[in-house]
């Protein structure tokens, strides 16, 4: 059903981008975009809180791509698309607000930027600093530590962790997030001394 997104899965994003840049092949761009459309949609929905608006956003963002891609030096299409998507949604939100709502919206953006994060050490392939990681793990709050352990070491899914700890999935996720943040700070040597 959703075959489009699987179309030629062997062709890399970069190759598709090149095709688009070389001869403006919309087909190539479409194939590339459809790989990420569900993500664009999910993020759009998160901000716009309407399926309808989110669907529209997905199409409008595609139009933006057509305009903005040429001439851009893009390393990782996915990250770039992520930023574009978020910015687009913010603009949408802003345009929906009345004039006096502008300041508020401005703040939303500030907050929202904070959610942007980079690849966490624990998510990387090479967890070379295993010992450091362990040491930092010890410093975590119990909840966070448990969740990280169950998730990253016991390989349990959110659901299972939630059941095991008797908390809901949302909590699991937030413990994971916070735990990871603290881990990172610790790993980067800030709290370790």
């Amino acid at each position: 059903m959703l075959e489009i997104s699987g179309k030629n899965p062997d062709i890399t994003d970069e190759e598709l981008l090149r095709q688009f840049n070389r001869n403006g092949s919309l087909e190539a761009l479409g194939a590339l975009y459809s790989r990420y459309m569900h993500l664009v949609f999910g993020v759009s929905f998160k901000y716009l809180e309407s399926r309808e608006d989110a669907r529209d956003a997905v199409m409008q963002i595609f139009e933006k791509l057509i305009i903005e891609l040429p001439g851009q030096e893009i390393r990782i299409f996915k990250s770039w698309l992520y930023v574009l998507t978020k910015n687009f949604c913010l603009m949408q939100i802003r345009s929906q607000k009345s004039a006096d709502g502008r300041l508020e919206v401005y703040k939303i953006e500030q907050e929202f930027m904070e959610s942007e994060s980079e690849m966490h050490p624990i998510d990387r392939e090479d967890q070379s600093a295993e010992a450091d990681l362990q040491r930092c793990m010890e410093k975590l709050k119990e909840d966070q530590k448990q969740c990280i352990e169950l998730f990253y070491y016991q390989n349990l899914c959110y659901q299972e962790i939630a059941e095991q700890l008797g908390i809901n999935e949302k909590k699991v996720k937030s413990f994971l997030q916070n735990g990871k943040r603290n881990l990172r700070i610790c790993l980067e040597g800030k709290n370790v001394g």
């Binding site: 997104s5 999910g42 929905f45 901000y47 502008r102 959610s115 659901q159 990871k180």
Partner: protein, 492 residues
């Protein structure tokens, strides 16, 4: 883990959302998601919708995308057709209306009906594959989210329209009306209908037109920002008869030109369309050359808009801060470098634009012109390698600083900076980070405000965290929190 590298496609998402995966599979999916903020946020959003609806939405979007790709090829043709159409309108008004109306009406009625049929839930399953181009376009509009598309009035047309049109021309701002709207007012007809136009209680006629033509987001009032959908609509209007027909119905003169303009804008979308749209509303109804000015826009003079570009390449600057001088409000430029702010009584506004790496400047804007804010690069920081700003909300005795001062940080960065491998940089790239320096000197909440890509962001953060420790900011009461923005340049 292989799952981490792999991209999770829509089907996998659906399986996950529907709970079709085993615990192990779920874990590996989640593990991958955890490693990518885009996935994280997307999943967050998707989990708020039922899986069935997600699936439906996905199908409908793929469908729309496919149609969009298909349609693009006809664009050139359409623009020619539209041009011809508008020229014809200008010259041979009467004949056109008599000749074309009946035909086009016949065509468009069924179209709208079919739209109606599939309107509510069926958009995921638009089955009609091949249809007349016009129909397809209209469907697309429908997809785009018009909440209601009352059947186009069947009783429209009539010779009187000509007079009527003259009338409307004379009403300055005479809101360009759209068919459906007219319908709502009353099932009236002919000139009576047209007279009704003006009093419609909609915010502004121009805007309505824009919306209607953009056909996207009827409810959202997106006007200036979305030039793209306008393109689509332009196309929808293309076939000659239709163009005439619409025109007649709208009883609206400059419209044809606007159509044309839109289609043109489609051809060279980036700068033209945007600026055009944000310009002042001019009732330029005498079909003269200055099409650009007739572009649909918000008629009131209470907004000033502009576009911020870099003097280096004249490309738009995205995310530039625009502060209104007389108030505390601020906006940020959008993906096309555009923004708009409230105007004062003189239809002007003074704003201060700032952007990392550019000289902050004050600009006088007026509603009567295209406000292009050309920002000059501030070469100092680019050569400095690193520069920091402090929280603008607080008054410090001293802002947070790296130990040994900015020079120490600079030195550290110079010595340790690594251009991410596998990345070639054309000239200079920069990353802007923002982070808190708490009153005990702890750095937290690091985020990337601008970056050419993840590897650069990571490198910048690495430099920040491994570099000199930070001294907290101080105000009269002692150490205090500061929010620092740091600008790091990657040079070849």
């Amino acid at each position: 883990m292989s799952a981490k590298k792999k991209h999770r496609n829509a089907s996998e998402y659906l399986q996950y959302l529907k709970g079709e995966l085993s615990g192990k599979e779920r874990h590996s999916f989640e593990r991958g998601v955890e490693a990518d903020p885009f996935d994280m946020e997307a999943l967050e959003g998707l989990e708020m919708i039922s899986p069935g609806e997600v699936e439906e939405d996905m199908l409908s979007m793929h469908d729309r995308l496919r149609k969009r790709l298909h349609r693009r090829r006809r664009r050139a043709l359409y623009s020619i057709a539209a041009t011809v159409a508008s020229l014809l309108i200008v010259s041979t008004v009467f004949i056109n209306i008599y000749d074309f109306n009946p035909k086009s009406r016949k065509e468009s009625i069924p179209i709208d009906k079919s739209n109606l049929h599939e309107e509510p839930g069926a958009r995921g399953a638009e089955k009609e594959e091949q249809q007349v181009p016009g129909l397809r376009d209209l469907q697309m509009e429908n997809d785009n989210g018009i909440e209601e598309t009352p059947p186009v009035q069947k009783e429209t047309r009539a010779p009187e329209q000509n007079d009527a049109r003259e009338e409307t021309r004379d009403q300055k701002n005479a809101p360009v009306e759209k068919n459906t709207q007219i319908e709502k007012n009353t099932p009236v007809e002919k000139n009576a209908r047209i007279e009704n136009n003006a009093p419609v209680d909609q915010p502004s006629g121009d805007e309505i037109v824009v919306r209607e033509r953009e056909a996207a987001n009827a409810g959202k009032g997106i006007t200036a920002e979305t030039e793209q959908p306008a393109v689509q609509e332009g196309k929808a209007l293309v076939p000659e008869e239709e163009a005439h027909f619409d025109k007649a119905k709208m009883a609206e003169a400059p419209d044809a030109e606007m159509m044309q303009e839109e289609v043109r804008a489609a051809e060279a979308p980036a700068p033209v369309a945007g600026q055009v749209v944000t310009m002042e509303a001019q009732p330029g109804r005498s079909q003269k050359k200055e099409r650009a000015i007739q572009a649909p826009s918000i008629p009131s003079a209470d907004r000033v808009s502009g576009v911020v570009v870099s003097s280096v390449d004249m490309k738009p600057l995205i995310g530039a801060s625009i502060l209104e001088k007389d108030s505390d409000s601020g906006v940020v430029t959008d993906q096309n470098g555009r923004f708009s702010v409230a105007a004062n009584q003189q239809s002007q506004a003074t704003v201060v634009a700032s952007f990392p790496g550019m000289k902050t400047g004050e600009y006088q804007l007026s509603t009567n012109s295209v406000n292009q804010l050309v920002m000059q690069p501030d070469l100092a920081p680019l050569d400095e390698g690193v520069i920091i700003w402090h929280s603008e909300e607080k008054e410090f005795v001293t802002g947070a600083e790296p130990e040994g001062g900015l020079d120490a940080l600079k030195k550290y960065i110079e010595d340790h900076i690594r251009i991410p491998s596998g990345d070639t940089i054309s000239n200079r790239e920069f990353v802007v980070l923002r982070f808190n320096v708490d009153k005990d000197g702890t750095i937290s909440q690091i985020e990337s405000l601008r970056s050419p890509g993840q590897p650069f962001t990571e490198e910048a953060i690495r430099l920040l965290l491994n570099g000199p420790d930070w001294q907290p900011a101080r105000d009269e009461n002692g150490p205090t929190d500061d929010v620092v923005r740091m600008f790091i340049v990657f040079k070849k």
